[in-house]
Amino acid sequence: MNLSLYQPGTSPVHRLHAVWKLAGLFAAGIAVLLTESPLLLAIGLASVLACFMLARLPLGAVLRQALPLFAVLAVFFAAHAIFTSPELGTILVLRFATIIGCGLLLTLTTKVSDMMAVLERALRPLALFGINPAKISLVFALTIRFIPVLADTWMSVRAAQQARGLGGNPLALLVPVTIQTLRRADQIAEAIEARGVEL
């Protein structure tokens, strides 16, 4: 399990500064909400697909992320086709596909640290209210980094409890996972401190 979806590369999309990519995602989000023309939405989606080609991403990595989303969109379209109209279903699916495609392209071609830097800059005005933008962007990075670690903890505790015949007991799972997670949080804070990183 890996939440950092970044795929290394040197394409123009990879090289584009994260701030432009995030701005593009924001603009695309607004644009798809402002139009109801299937033609314009289809052009938007085609543009996103062209950007994917330009990014020269490994097809497997893209499909691994996109296929589950396709399935959701297919269900979405079918529901609209049955209960409202196929036209509305088409518009909504084109909207979601475009915006999800933009988000996927962003995460596949942008390092977390680059997004952190943009986030930190964008949040700088909050410093006036005593909020530290560096801390917020670090929380964002730590979340991405440690969800797989916590998933490993969850699975190893579950295996241990199953071995004891307590696999179906939620408390037997939650208590040790919570304790281990809190202990790990302390150790991570200590390690960040030891690395001399000041926030």
Partner: protein
């Protein structure tokens, strides 16, 4: 030189280290002892992660209780579980995170990262997710992170405990090759045997202090 003068350290409810006075000058010092003897607290005192409840710890004359920031520049700390010290999702990003406090410009950061990756033969992992590295690679990455800040002293808290034999050898070879002063807390007596000076801790006190052979022999006799 690191010195401890009549140091006591407490955690809520008990004193973990009692009246420890030492001067650490040797290039390789091992700290051994049973679980709960105070080894990890001792290690944490050396870079200011734990402050003495009484007494004084100084690193090259800098008091750990007064200027922890300066002390952390002098003393790098390697933890037992590398998963807790790697913060960023990609190897390169994690190394860059360590350099943040040094406020270098981008080309200088790139050069430092390049040098450290080639020093530990980790260049091929530069853009890999840190979560997917082997235990040994993670520990080497954690060590690389510390060395990026060019500390004079390295404190290692059981750096090989979670590693398999091959990764243990790989990490220890890297540590042995370091020119910096190393203070290694370990249960691995094979590692301690190769060090110039060994401290044996028991119930928060330094029970023995001297050449590896004699101190390890005493420790073994205590376990019998």
């Amino acid at each position: 030189m690191i010195s401890l003068e009549q140091v006591n350290a407490t955690v809520p409810g008990r004193t973990v280290l009692k009246d420890v006075t030492l001067t650490l000058r040797e290039r390789r010092i091992a700290v051994i002892g049973a679980n709960g003897s105070g080894k990890s607290t001792f290690a944490r005192l050396l870079n200011g992660l734990v402050r003495p409840s009484s007494g004084r710890v100084t690193v090259d004359g800098v008091d750990t209780a007064k200027d922890a920031k300066a002390v952390r520049r002098l003393v790098g700390f390697l933890f037992q579980d590398p998963d807790n010290q790697i913060v960023m999702p990609l190897v390169e990003e994690d190394l860059r995170f360590s350099l943040k406090a040094l406020k270098l410009d981008r080309p200088e950061e790139d050069a430092a990262i390049e040098r450290i990756l080639s020093r530990f033969a980790l260049g091929h992992l530069r853009e890999q997710p840190s979560h997917n590295l082997s235990g040994g690679e993670k520990q080497l990455l954690a060590l690389a992170n510390i060395l990026l800040r060019a500390p004079r002293y390295l404190v290692l808290d059981e750096p090989t405990t979670l590693l398999d034999l091959r990764n243990r050898r790989r990490v220890m070879e890297a540590i042995d090759a370091l020119p910096e002063t190393v203070i290694c807390v370990t249960h691995d007596l094979e590692i301690a045997a190769g060090y110039e000076r060994v401290l044996l801790l028991e119930d928060g006190r330094v029970l023995d202090d001297g050449p590896a052979e004699a101190v390890i022999a005493r420790y073994r006799s205590m376990a019998e």
